[in-house]
Structures are given as C-alpha cells and as structure tokens.
C-alpha cells in the first residue's frame, strides 16, 4: 500500500541515504536496512531499553521512532562509540568491571550511559541507578553496570584526546 520513502540522515557521523516503509521503526531501519545490528530488539515496546540510540543527542528508544522521522537528523548507535583509537571509555569500563553477561542489553546500556555522562560528567550512584531505570538487564543484577558507569565517569574526566597529525582530535 504505502510507498517507500527516501530518508537522508547522519548515522554515527556518516551521511546515509536509505529507502524504508513509512511504518518501519528506526530500530528496523538500523538493523535490517543499514545493517547496524549492534542496536538490539528486546521488547519492541519501549520498556526494555535494548534499542536505545541517541537522536540529535537525545536518548530515545529506537523501537518508538519511525525511520522516516530521522530525515535530516543525527543518530548515534553503539557502533558509533569506538573510533580509530579503540573502545570508548564507557566500553572499556564495562569490560573492566565485567558488566556484561549475555550482552543483549549492553548496547543500550552503553548508549544510555553515554547520554547521562554527556549531560552530567559526575553523577551519583543513585542518579545512575535512576537514569538507567529504562534499561533492563536480566543477568548482572545491575551492580556491575553501575560500577562501570562510575568508573567511566572517572576515566572520561581524565581522558586526554590523543595527538594525531600534530592536531588535537576532538573526542566523540
């Protein structure tokens, strides 16, 4: 019935262009059209947070956004965290604190944690727990995740962008 719509957007810093049905979610577009399968499909209902992405810097559930809605906008997924220098400090902290078991919630956890630390570089433990309320993890019991975010806050604060070709590259 519906005609496919052409969508132009920036995803993880790269200009992308794709065709999607108007009723396809951003989650489906990321996974099935753009091949970015890091973002996970958990409940497809806005409850679990596995599909968390940043839309123009704002934390959203990609299952509750239509793909056509990102026209002209910027999306960051878990694939956009690491760069040529290696893992993002939040990813390193999750590894160091063993904050992963099955790993299904982890991409959403990483993105939600980035959204928090981008706004508040030094959140309290309580603030972290409340902020992460929309990201369910059925394995870890959350303690390791919370410790990882606290560790990430410390390492983000001490993180010096490395020199590259004699120029400071801005950290993502």
């Amino acid at each position: 019935m519906a005609n496919k719509t052409r969508v132009c957007a920036r995803v993880n810093g790269e200009q992308v262009e794709f065709l999607c049905e108007p009723y396809q979610s951003l989650l489906e577009c990321l996974r099935d059209i753009l091949g970015l399968t890091g973002t996970k499909d958990g409940c497809n209902d806005g409850n679990c947070g596995a599909c968390s992405v940043l839309l123009d810097g704002q934390l959203v559930n990609s299952c509750l956004v239509l793909g056509v809605e990102i026209e002209g906008r910027e999306v960051t997924t878990v694939e956009g965290l690491a760069d040529w220098r290696g893992l993002h400090p939040i990813q390193l902290a999750v590894v160091e604190e063993d904050a992963v078991q099955c790993g299904y919630c982890t991409p959403g956890i990483l993105i939600a944690a980035k959204a928090l630390l981008d706004r508040e570089p030094n959140p309290s433990e309580r603030r972290i727990r409340t902020w992460m309320a929309g990201n369910l993890c059925r394995c870890t019991g959350y303690d390791k995740i919370v410790r990882a975010i606290m560790r990430a806050a410390r390492s983000c604060a001490q993180y010096d962008p490395p020199l590259y070709n004699g120029r400071n590259k801005a950290r993502r």
């Binding site: 019935m1 519906a2 719509t5 049905e21 108007p22 009723y23 396809q24 979610s25 497809n44 209902d45 806005g46 409850n47 947070g49 968390s52 839309l55 704002q58 934390l59 959203v60 559930n61 299952c63 509750l64 956004v65 239509l66 056509v68 809605e69 939600a112 959204a115 928090l116 309580r126 603030r127 409340t130 902020w131 992460m132 309320a133 929309g134 990201n135």
Partner: protein
C-alpha cells in the same frame, strides 16, 4: 506493524486538512510512545499518521510572567523539564513530566500526548488540572479552548473530533503565595504506571495564615483524571493545617471511583488517595511559602508517594 502512510505537515492548517480528509483512520503523532505501541499491538489501526513535530506552534515553549506559559503539544518531557522558566514557575508540572517513563521515554513523550492518550493514570493530567491549564484545540473552523479537566471523557477518549488536534496547553501565570505539587504511588522506584496519583494547588493569604483558594485532582481512581471540586473547596478560608488537609483528603476519597485491577485493589486506591492528597497539599503549601524545591528533573530523584517529602 500494519502499513500506514506518513505525512509531516509544517502548518496547523495542513495537519487539520489531512486529519479531516482521512477521518477516524488518521492519528496525529507527537512522541509516539503510546501511538506506536498501540499500532504495533493492533489496538489501533490507521491509514495515515500525521507527524505534528514539524509544526512550529506545537514545538514551542513560551513563558511570560503576566500572560503565563504555553507549551506546544509536541514538546518532549525532557525538553520541558530542562526549561528554566517552567522549572521555576511550574514545579508541579516538573513533578509529573519527570516521572513519565525513564529518560529514553522522556526524550520523546509529551504532556500533550499524555493528555490525548487519556489514560486514567496519566500523571501530567492532574498536575495540569490543578493549576488551571487550558487546551488550545484546532479544527477546520479555527481554534477552541477546552479546560484540561473536561478534555478526557472516558479511558482513551477525549473531546477531540476526528478533524481536530491539540495545539498547545496554556497555563495561567503563577500567583504570588501559590504552590502546587503532584505525587503518585507506584510499587517500584520509577518506570511504572500510577496505582493512584494526586495533584494539589493552593493559594495562601499574604501572611500565609489562610488558604484563599485550592484545587485537587486525582489520577488512576476514576475513568478519567478527576477534579475533586469539593475537596478543594473545603480548604477555602481555612488555615493550612493537618486538620484541614485531613478533611480535604476525606472528601477526595469520597470523590474517587476506583476499580480494582492488577495494579491495586479498590480499597488500596481509595486509601492511597487520602495519603497522597495530604502529602500533595503539604508540598503545595511548602511551595507556596518557598520551602520546597522543584525536583531536579529528567527522572532524577524519585518524588513518588511512598518515598521522600513525607
């Protein structure tokens, strides 16, 4: 999801024309946190989704100390909660907008959508009712104003015609010596639907010795969010004391028409109304006297009934 068409008009006139052409098989899309869930579950079938987020009037927050506040129907809760004028002048709105879902939901969900979804448990609705908010509704013949307390007519139903849409919500300027508070009870810390909720607004005399005016509204204890007229009126002319709050709480319990369901029994809901009304009144009086801050917003410190601010 069942297929539908998508349009993103840039003016109210275009949006209303699209809704009028398609009738009941069209729905406006703001944050989508209710609409997309309903469409995916098959609770609702539409041929056309009209994204209203590109219409300037629906995205605007404007505040004037005399004229008051206007919040566009598509303003996300996260944006509202970070707005300094809203935080300073309408803390009860922040009480409610900061507990609707977690941060990812708040990045999309809107108080306009909370109202149009017309859930009995919509947290933002009692907070809007008590401060005397009015909806601006656009249709083919122009706009009309609807008080928030008469907007919802049944669970999931509103006064909106098929060819009408909510444009914005207007809040009167806060009066000196007035204050408002919204609280709800949920068994978890966050990310849950109210078992019961209560909003209160009070206007005190200049010396703070007497309540000059008051409004109380309830969530999740009737088919729609409910203005408890008699409970509010009982406070007028009284000192802001525990006895006065207890009498208002008793009248609010009587006004409640709760059902028992998976979230709570009828008796528990009625009991909660009493507890929450008293707490909301204490909070409103503390706000009126400058003694209770706005919550830090964006789903931060919980402000639910069972926790702090006794």
């Amino acid at each position: 999801m069942r297929p539908f068409e998508y349009q993103a008009p840039t003016s109210i006139g275009e949006a209303v024309a699209l809704l009028a052409d398609t009738g009941e098989r069209a729905r406006p899309l703001a944050g989508g946190t209710d609409l997309l869930v309903q469409l995916r579950r098959g609770l609702l079938e539409v041929d056309l989704v009209v994204d209203v987020k590109k219409i300037p009037e629906l995205n605007r927050i404007s505040f004037h100390p005399v004229e008051g506040l206007t919040v566009g129907a598509a303003v996300a809760c996260a944006v509202l909660c970070e707005h300094p004028d809203v935080r300073a002048a309408y803390p009860a709105l922040i009480d409610a907008a900061s507990i609707i879902g977690g941060p990812a939901i708040q990045g999309r969900a809107t108080i306009g959508g909370n109202l149009c979804n017309a859930a009995p448990s919509g947290d933002a609705i009692p907070a809007m009712i008590v401060v005397g908010a009015t909806c601006t509704v656009a249709g083919p013949g122009g706009t009309r104003a609807v008080p928030v307390e008469t907007f919802c007519t049944a669970p999931g139903r509103t006064v909106l015609g098929e060819d009408e849409m909510l444009v914005s919500i207007r809040f009167p300027a806060p009066m000196p010596n007035s204050g408002a508070r919204y609280l709800r009870f949920i068994p978890r810390g966050e990310m849950d639907i109210a078992v019961a909720g209560a909003g209160a607004w009070v206007l005190l005399s200049d010396d703070h010795a007497q309540i000059t005016d008051a409004r109380i509204a309830l969530a999740a204890v009737a088919p729609t969010p409910l203005l408890a007229d008699a409970a509010g009126a009982s406070l007028i002319g009284k000192a802001p004391t525990e006895d006065a709050f207890a009498e208002a709480a008793k009248l609010a319990r009587e006004a409640a028409r709760p059902i028992g369901d998976v979230r709570g029994t009828e008796a528990q809901r009625r009991h909660l109304v009493g507890v929450l009304v008293k707490r909301a009144l204490r909070g409103a009086v503390r706000r009126a006297t400058g003694d209770l801050a706005t919550p830090s917003g964006r789903s931060t410190e919980p402000v639910q009934g069972g926790r702090n601010h006794g």
